[in-house]
Amino acid sequence: MNLDLVATGTAAAVVAAATLRAATPILFASLGGLISELAGCINVALEGVMLVAAFAGVITSAYSTLWFPDAPLWLHPWLGCAAGLLAGTALAGLLAVFHLELGADLIVAGIGLNILAQGLTVLLMAHLTGDKGSTASLASFALPSLRWPGIGAVPVLGVLLNGDEDTGHNVLVYVAMAATGLIAWALRHTVFGLRLRATGENAEAALAAGLPVRRLRYAGLLLSGLLASGGGVFLGMGYLTLFQADMAAGRGYLALAAVFLGGRRPLGTVVAALVFGAASVTAARLGQLAVPAEVVFMIPPLVTIAALVLVKQHQRLATRRRAAAGRAALLSP
């Protein structure tokens, strides 16, 4: 076998696996964003939800050993995971109450909750650990990784499926993939999906058809909270095994961009999330090459802006082509 080919393939697989890992939190959050957008009330608080979920997950998994010293070791990360999902979903529920019950503007309330989550997690972290930067001093848990047995030695495929350290991918990476398929299917084929889309597209029509519009919007926002929480939990209990101040680092906003970049469709959203994941992997690689950190940090947002501009430009060109074709048809006898 050509060794060069294997080496190239392995390198590509390393990048692909890293991209998958980096894209997972964005993917979770963007699926959440998509569902809320289709329900007609986009969840701007994805960023805050991820932070709160990551924080609650990490802290709970660490304290779980104190609270339940006799529990089996494997239980603690799952308790953390449950707490993270619950906390993040609760924050989205708060946004739903602000918007649907109290009439608050979705954008303003969402950004407010993001700022709240940023401050609150650091405040609680400082209170609990005495450190404002991270929870490195706590022994918190990661969720288990799934390792495909017997392919560690297979070139390329082994690296792709089990990672370059042959530890397997975190269980949440697979959950994210499964969630993508499930959501794409449910939106298209279930009664709930139909009702959710109808509510988002024409709430008045949905109401007139007797649909419980408010309840559907609650469902949309709570589901988006649950999904984004999955992303947050992955950040603190998979991607890393600790909580860092502001560890979502704009991924919640990237996820919102992914929803629109993906044309508000499941498949497009997934592709956009993968693009953003690749951008952050690139940034991380450059970080190892003595490129200034400021430049590295600029890469994901620059890719976002470039992608948005490119897609818009593409649409504009298509529009211009259609308009020109129409003009030609008008001028021809």
Binding site: V191, G193, R195, A208, A209, P212, A323
Partner: protein
């Protein structure tokens, strides 16, 4: 004769909105089962509020609603649907990206195990309803691709799918062509014969006459008249609806030698951002003292034509001249300064700023001109006096010049908009749907003003979906269909039926260029 059981009964119903507006007060009327009942009155009279209460979209603040004799306290349209009430709203309530079948079953969907939508059963159900009602629709079509008349059929199917025995329709004919209206009426009669009860809002005397067995008149939130059609003739019905005798129709322009045209449009064409040709080869001439009517089903280019002539859009081909000077393709302000005035189709969005006062809305086109503006400042005193004069002169029902214009009824708002547009004695007025949703009395007043402007020598382009209005006011009528002028008539030489055929593309081949 036995007394038919009552399908709908309103007993002293009052609706006061949280902002204090009293939409209905002491409203009582009944509709017998199997009856077609008309609810008439001007915009803002509270008709739509009655419909919303019957459908659970609003709740009365006092009084009681009874459906088939049972007290109805609807909190949600779901409750009304469960009680057998269905609403076909004025602004059709469909989800454009979904199919006909999906829209029809929405809210009560056939399912497969696992919460899955059963699309096959949904399509079968729609075909079954189509068979029962005679409303022809393709279940697999996407709603966005359907013309408005067909969308309305989808709405009715939706209502029937839910098993409604009482069907409420809010101004169903406002968007329909005469043939579509005839089809709708036949359907409603068919449904009534099958035992359905129909309550329909309309403005039009002839529709009440053609369709209804009984009529209730609302004015300023109260019932001001109630009659069985068998007991009234046309004259009493008109008095009932208007509150007084109708003024005679405005006099026709005396026949005479046609003057040289003042407005000449040639080859107007427009391509929108999607590359769709919205208007092509539109040419016409309007002489001073002449009204040219433009007939057409909505969405056949009337809106684009009005936007081109007002300067809001730039024509892709061609131009239009007023007294020899091109006024298209410039800007709304440039067109206005050349003597063009515009009554826009959508008065709430383009014609007025609903939350601003009457004074500010009147100022909108003239704020920069003396005597309203002096040294760059608006002379509020002069503006207020002008507004007061307009309110008195046009018989506008308002509390004063500082009332928000959006709080007025459609007729009163439209009077103010027309007053603003003709204040400078324009040479060319483009009036789009000037009396849509306006009560009969206000429409008559608006018509009188248009005729007066015509008699002063202005050229007027009247774009209207109301064929009666076109036939009464126009000197000549052109029909727009799919962005082209497909027929031209002298007003005296055509009837509504012929116009209706041409509007739907069913007329004989277009007759060429009698405008030259």
């Amino acid at each position: 004769m036995t007394v038919a059981p009552l399908a709908i009964a309103l007993e002293d119903v009052e609706k006061r909105y949280p902002n204090g507006t009293l939409a209905n007060s002491g409203v009582s009327f009944t509709v017998a089962a199997g009856e077609i009942h008309a609810l008439v009155g001007e915009n803002g009279a509270g008709k739509s509020t009655v419909m919303k209460m019957l459908y659970g979209l609003e709740r009365p603040t006092a009084g009681a609603l009874r459906i088939h004799g049972l007290l109805a306290d609807f909190r949600h349209p779901g409750d009304a649907i469960a009680a057998g009430v269905g609403l076909v709203a004025q602004h059709l309530n469909l989800v454009p990206s979904l199919t006909v079948a999906e829209n029809v079953v929405l809210g009560h969907e056939p399912r497969k195990p696992g919460g899955r939508l059963d699309r096959v059963a949904a399509a079968a159900r729609v075909r079954e309803l189509v068979g029962q009602s005679g409303l022809a629709v393709d279940p697999a079509a996407t709603v966005a691709s359907l013309p408005v008349g067909v969308r309305q059929r989808v709405e009715i199917l939706k209502v029937l799918h839910r098993g409604a025995r009482i069907i409420l329709l809010d101004e169903p004919t406002a968007v329909l062509t005469p043939p579509e209206t005839a089809t709708l009426f036949a359907t409603l009669r068919h449904l009534a014969a099958a035992g359905h009860t129909v309550l329909v809002i309309t403005h039009k005397l002839d529709e009440v006459k053609a369709l209804a067995g009984g009529v209730t008149v609302l004015c300023q939130g109260r019932v001001t008249g109630n009659a069985r059609m068998a007991d009234v003739n046309e004259g009493t019905l008109a008095r009932l609806m208007v509150g007084r005798d109708l003024p005679p129709p405005p006099p026709r322009r005396p026949a005479g030698a046609r003057l040289a045209p003042r407005v000449i449009a040639r080859d107007l064409g427009y391509v929108d951002g999607d590359g769709a040709i919205r208007l092509r080869d539109v040419g016409f001439e309007v002489a001073p003292g002449e009204i040219l009517g433009i007939a057409g089903v909505e969405g056949n280019g009337q809106d684009v034509l009005a936007r081109l002539l007002s300067g809001a859009a730039v024509p892709t081909t061609g131009d239009a001249r007023l007294d020899g000077r091109v006024f298209t393709g410039l800007s709304p302000r440039a067109a206005r300064s050349l003597g063009v005035a515009v009554v826009t189709e959508d008065r709430l969005h383009d014609g007025a700023a609903p939350t601003l006062s009457i004074v500010d809305n009147l100022l909108a086109t003239r704020y920069a001109q003396p005597p309203l503006s002096r040294r760059g400042l608006i002379d509020r005193g002069t503006a207020r006096r002008w507004a007061e004069a307009v309110i008195a002169g046009f018989d506008v029902r308002a509390t004063g010049p500082h009332q928000p214009i959006g709080a007025l009824s459609g007729g009163n708002m439209q009077k103010l908009i027309l007053a603003r547009e003709i204040a400078d004695a324009p040479a060319f007025l483009v009036a789009s749907q000037p009396t849509r949703g306006v009560d009969i009395a206000a429409a008559a007043a608006l018509h009188t003003r248009l005729v007066a402007l015509r008699d002063q020598g202005a050229a007027i382009l009247l774009i209207s979906a109301d064929l009666d209005e076109l036939l009464v006011l126009s000197d000549r009528i052109a029909v727009l269909y799919r962005g082209r002028i497909v027929a031209r008539f002298e007003a005296g030489a055509v009837d509504a039926r012929t116009l209706g055929l041409h509007m739907t593309g069913l007329g004989p081949e277009p007759k060429g260029g009698d405008h030259d």
